[in-house]
């Protein structure tokens, strides 16, 4: 993987027609993204309750049925995309930003500082993600912001370790040693030569990590740590519906299916990008 990534960037950017699975994933992600940006395109008010039509099964009018308050489950799933994707993307932005910074510092600094940082990444990675996020929430309190930061912090070591490993490879590459020989300053060296060349695997990792972040966000919301009712967040919807699972499966199962589809799509898309970027798309 690392050897492939030192190839010039241009060689990785040739276009081929993707396979059906990838197309489906891309289409699903497009719909999900549109839902997050413009939910009213697909559905009405996610908070409108109708006590006369509670827990009714999927129908032409309510594609995903209604929940325990008579709210349209499909409408809530659509509006929930904004919550879930916002949390996922924001968390990834935090994780990637902090990961690049800390990884570069570790990769370029003195051995002792590197040891200290690397061992702390190892220590953080030793904890299950959920536990780490829960710990953070226990300290910072519940709510959307705290959820975003918790997941972001939990995912930092993922990115930091990759960036650090890349930095080690790149700093010994011929073009870096040449730049040093030509008398480039330290800042210029890092910004012009090291940074662009360690970022190769990051977009792919970020897409796959996004799936992980969304799953983690849904899980924590399920436990009541995320946006509070009546916000239509996917994990919270699954949680609210579980008391009715035996009489109204759609209140939990269908939002759960959407979470699953989102994560599968992100993983498929991520793997596709990975193959493209590494030039291993041999299909």
């Amino acid at each position: 993987m690392t050897i492939a990534l030192i190839r010039p960037v241009a060689a990785r950017l040739t276009w081929r027609v993707p396979r059906p699975g990838v197309t489906a994933a891309a289409l699903f992600l497009l719909v999900a993204l549109t839902s997050a940006v413009w939910p009213s395109l697909f559905a009405g008010d996610p908070l409108a309750a109708d006590p006369l039509h509670v827990l009714e099964g999927p129908s032409g009018q309510h594609w995903f049925g209604t929940d325990q308050l008579g709210r349209d489950v499909f409408g809530r799933v659509v509006h929930g995309a904004r919550h879930s994707l916002t949390i996922g993307v924001s968390a990834i932005v935090i994780a990637v930003g902090a990961g690049i910074l800390l990884g570069l510092i570790a990769g370029l600094s003195h051995r002792i500082a590197d040891e200290a940082l690397s061992r702390s990444f190892d220590a953080l990675s030793a904890f299950p993600l959920v536990l780490l996020a829960l710990l953070f929430i226990a300290i910072a309190g519940t709510g959307t912001t705290s959820l975003i930061v918790a997941i972001g912090v939990a995912l930092v070591p993922h990115f930091a370790r990759v960036v650090r490993a890349q930095t080690f490879v790149v700093r010994r590459a011929a073009y870096v040693t040449h730049a040093v020989a030509f008398g480039a300053g330290r800042a210029r060296l890092v910004v012009r030569h090291v940074l662009p060349n360690v970022l190769g695997p990051i977009p792919v990792l970020a897409v796959i990590g996004l799936g992980e972040a969304i799953l983690l966000a849904a899980g924590l919301s399920f436990l009541g740590m995320g946006p509070q009712p009546p916000s239509p967040e996917w994990g919270a919807m699954i949680s609210e519906g579980r008391g009715y699972l035996h009489i109204a499966w759609w209140t939990s199962i269908l939002p759960g299916a959407v979470v699953t589809a989102t994560i599968i799509s992100l993983t498929v898309a991520g793997r596709f990008l990975q193959r493209r970027f590494e030039g291993r798309d041999l299909a």
Binding site: P51, L52, L69, H246
Partner: protein, 545 residues
């Protein structure tokens, strides 16, 4: 001196009636479990984990079924709100209503081996009045108590400053339960209770695993059951375990799969699962005390304006919301006093609520005439936001879901922004103490509704969350407990209900709380506590072999 003497003999007839007609509807019959047999171990899944096992500090109606396993009171209730002897064999009231003399049962011992006597009763009251121990009890239930005198080993006299019939209700309530004075002194963790505290009851609490279960074993020395307990001598069961299963679906699943034999708290949506099984039975009982109601905080805007309070009540179509959440099993409440109480004022029914047009007119008149882009009403740029803070240990019957249904309904009909926060008890206590709330939700299963009203509506009441300080209201509450005449008390409480429900709109009664018990048909003696209407203790239960 006018004498009202209650003896065991005169009450046998009453108690037989109690046994015959428990105030509950039942879809199964005790006959399935055959004749009572001794022995066996039962597991019962309950919704609520008590915040304390110390009966003096009892605060959750859902924990009442645990209290009477290991503790007992001087009196208990028959099914009509009257009193039966328990640890007291009888009592006399002086003509001025200020002196209550109790004769105590002899031969009763606490499970730690100490003897129950007049000194123990006095020690319990002294403990309740100790600084910082049970301030709510000391300030409300015992506010008219001057002194307690242990005349001899089996006679104890309560001297009151004012006539107060609620002293009898107190002495039959969990807070009035008798705890071994030796264990009260020795307990390291007095406020949490648990195995350290010894009572006189038919079971002994021997282990408690927080978050999981509490276990009781039979007290073999027990021989002083009240006349309406169904049998005498030690309990039938050798041991009983109560498991704390907060999720209703988990409780129902545990019952249908045979992991537990009894559950309480069966949501309407799950009842079909119980009735579908030939081996399970379901019973429902209405609680006594106060109805589940929203109390409006009048201390600050917006509910300092009676029109906004009325508007909130008009904005909600209560039957529609109740049917949505509870199907058709909920009983709508019209008064702060529950409909099973003799003091309930039936004439309040249908006099208010459910008229969205009136709600909007009232809000326009109160100055909340503009709306923001989200559809909420505003006044001077400020949104009409009211906050309901629910404390998780007190949430039962899906009251969190009901709150969300109400939230959606009042937004749709009148543009009111009801914000619901479900928080832990510490956070809720702080929010209530700081006045950071506009709506307070509560129901109380007191056997005498007057006890609930004294806490909720008296200007110094411990849970007076409306912030009402009305001398007329206080006088009505005082007058209502100064006489034993039920007709006079009823008239006084009717005037009070008119004041708080009709005139002041301080309270928004929603539904009459009920308890449900579902049990395997191998379990006999399942039923509700007379008058209180909550699930009874384990004393009457047996397991057929």
């Amino acid at each position: 001196m006018r004498r009202i003497r209650v003896t065991v003999a005169s009450l046998v007839a009453t108690s037989l009636l109690v046994l015959a007609g428990c105030s509950a509807e039942s879809s199964g019959s005790a006959a399935d479990a055959g004749k009572p047999v001794s022995g066996g171990s039962l597991t019962w899944a309950v919704e609520t984990e008590p915040i304390t096992f110390n009966p003096h500090l009892y605060a959750q109606a859902k924990a009442r079924l645990l209290v009477w396993n290991s503790f007992e009171a001087l009196l208990t209730h028959d099914d009509k709100g009257g009193y039966l002897p328990w640890l007291a064999t009888g009592y006399e009231v002086s003509a001025d209503g200020k002196t209550y003399t109790f004769t105590l049962r002899t031969g009763v011992t606490f499970s730690d081996g100490t003897t129950f006597d007049a000194a123990a009763v006095k020690a319990n009251v002294d403990q309740l009045r100790a600084d910082g121990y049970a301030p709510a009890v000391a300030a409300v239930q015992l506010k008219n108590l001057a002194t307690v005198e242990a005349k001899d080993a089996s006679t104890v006299v309560f001297h009151l400053t004012e006539p107060d019939v609620l002293i009898l209700d107190f002495l039959s309530s969990p807070q009035g339960a008798q705890v071994s004075p030796a264990s009260l002194k020795a307990a390291k963790n007095l406020k949490a209770g648990g195995p350290e505290l010894a009572g006189t009851g038919p079971f002994i609490l021997d282990s408690y695993t927080p978050g999981q279960q509490v276990h009781f074993k039979k007290n073999p020395a027990y021989d002083w059951a009240p006349a309406n307990a169904g049998h005498t001598g030690p309990a039938y069961l050798d041991e009983i375990t109560y498991r704390f299963l907060k999720e209703s679906s988990v409780r129902v699943g545990a019952l249908t799969s045979g992991q537990v034999q009894v559950i309480e708290g069966v949501p309407a949506t799950d009842e079909s699962l119980i009735s579908a099984s030939p081996n399970l039975s379901l019973q429902r009982g209405l609680n006594s005390g106060s109805a589940y109601s929203y109390y409006f905080n009048t201390a600050h805007a917006p509910f300092d304006d009676v029109r906004v309070r009325q508007a909130f009540r008009e904005a909600l179509d209560v039957p529609a919301v109740l049917d949505g959440v509870y199907r058709t099993t909920a009983t709508r409440a019209w008064s702060v006093i529950g409909p099973t109480s003799p003091f309930y004022d039936k004439t309040l029914e249908g006099t208010y609520s459910g008229d969205a047009a009136t709600a909007n007119t009232l809000l326009d008149a109160a100055g909340w005439a503009t709306k923001d882009p989200e559809g909420f009403r505003t006044k001077d740029g400020k949104r009409l936001t009211v906050r309901l803070v629910q404390s998780a240990p007190f949430v039962r019957d899906r009251r969190d879901v009901l709150a969300q249904a109400i939230q959606a309904a009042v937004k749709q009909s009148a543009g009111i922004d009801l914000q619901v926060q479900l928080v832990d008890q510490g956070t809720a206590t702080k929010a209530l103490a700081d006045g950071e709330y506009e709506v307070f939700d509560n129901s109380r299963a007191d056997t005498d509704a007057g006890a609930a009203l004294n806490l909720l509506l008296y200007s110094t009441g411990a849970i007076n969350r409306t912030g009402v300080k009305n001398p007329d209201l206080d006088k009505l509450l005082d007058d209502a407990v100064a006489t034993t005449d039920v007709a006079k008390r009823t008239a006084t409480y009717r005037a009070l209900q008119k004041l708080v429900i009709t005139d002041q709109a301080l309270v928004f009664p929603l539904y009459a709380p009920q308890d449900q018990i579902a049990a395997a048909k191998t379990v006999g003696g399942v039923g509700f506590e007379p008058t209180a209407g909550v699930p009874g203790s384990a004393y009457r239960l047996w397991l057929s072999k």
